[in-house]
């Protein structure tokens, strides 16, 4: 999807699948809607810094292990 700005890639879907959580399960743990989790996983929305930290704490991983700001399919466009 083409945006006016770059969106990050992330490993949320994989991390969620490893724990056999549904999007609704993850949403409840993060205190957001399921649509927000879906938008994050499909790259339509980048989380705020507080939500990114919350995600990191939930999966016990540093933020940079979950989010990648060098999205390969958009490289060279900026």
């Amino acid at each position: 999807m083409v945006w006016l700005y770059r969106l990050m890639k992330n490993r949320l879907r994989v991390l969620r699948a490893e724990r056999a959580w549904s999007q609704a399960d993850l949403a409840e743990r993060l205190g957001v809607s399921r649509q927000t989790v879906n938008a994050l996983e499909t790259g339509k929305y980048d989380p705020s810094l507080p939500l990114a930290f919350k995600i990191g704490r939930l999966f016990a991983l540093p933020i940079e292990a979950i989010f990648d700001d060098e999205a390969p399919d958009l490289e060279g466009q900026s």
């Binding site: 999807m1 549904s22 957001v32 809607s33 399921r34 927000t36 879906n38 339509k44 929305y45 939500l51």
Partner: protein, 225 residues
Amino acid sequence: MSADFYDAPRPPRRWRRMAILLVLGMGVGAPAGYLIGRLIKHAERVSALGWSDSLSLGIAALLLFSGLSVLAATLANFSAAYLADPHGDEPARRVRPAQMTYFRLQGAVLALAGGMMATPVMLRILVPDLPLELANTAFLGIVAAFLLQTALNIAVWFRSDELVRRATSDAGAVCFWLLQGLLFIWAAGEKLALLPHLNSWDGLTVLMSLYLIMSVAVAYRRGLG
């Protein structure tokens, strides 16, 4: 009050819900039927409406219908669950009371917006020679409704999650960017006597139309559609 009153079985939830729907339907249907009847009676005034009056009435009807539909949907858990997650792949969960409150606030905001937008145009159709007292009363009512809607809007904002807030901000920013450009171009053309004069109601109607379109577009692209 006797103990029998408290011990008496309560009507099933389905019947209570139907009773509420019936009361709501009569409360909405009766005035709507009356207004539609008056509009048909004064069809020549309706057909003589300008483009902005016609468009704003259409937008008002859409907002009213959406708001009342959302409010009606909160009467049952299954329809409220659909509001909470229209494309969820899991069986509908029980909607929490806080979510119900959130949807009711949203419904009230939409319905109030529709009512406020329809009132000036409807009054002009129904009462062509509007007495000053009635105009004053209607204006005070609209201002009161606007203040209430602002308070409800703030409550919706604080209850929304960050994706909804982001979509709202994005739609507002895009609208401002587009409308300030359009306004400048139009004002310049008008000043040079090349474009016709627009009044404030025309401007408001354009603003509301664009905001509705951009809200839907932004929400869809952000994954809220």
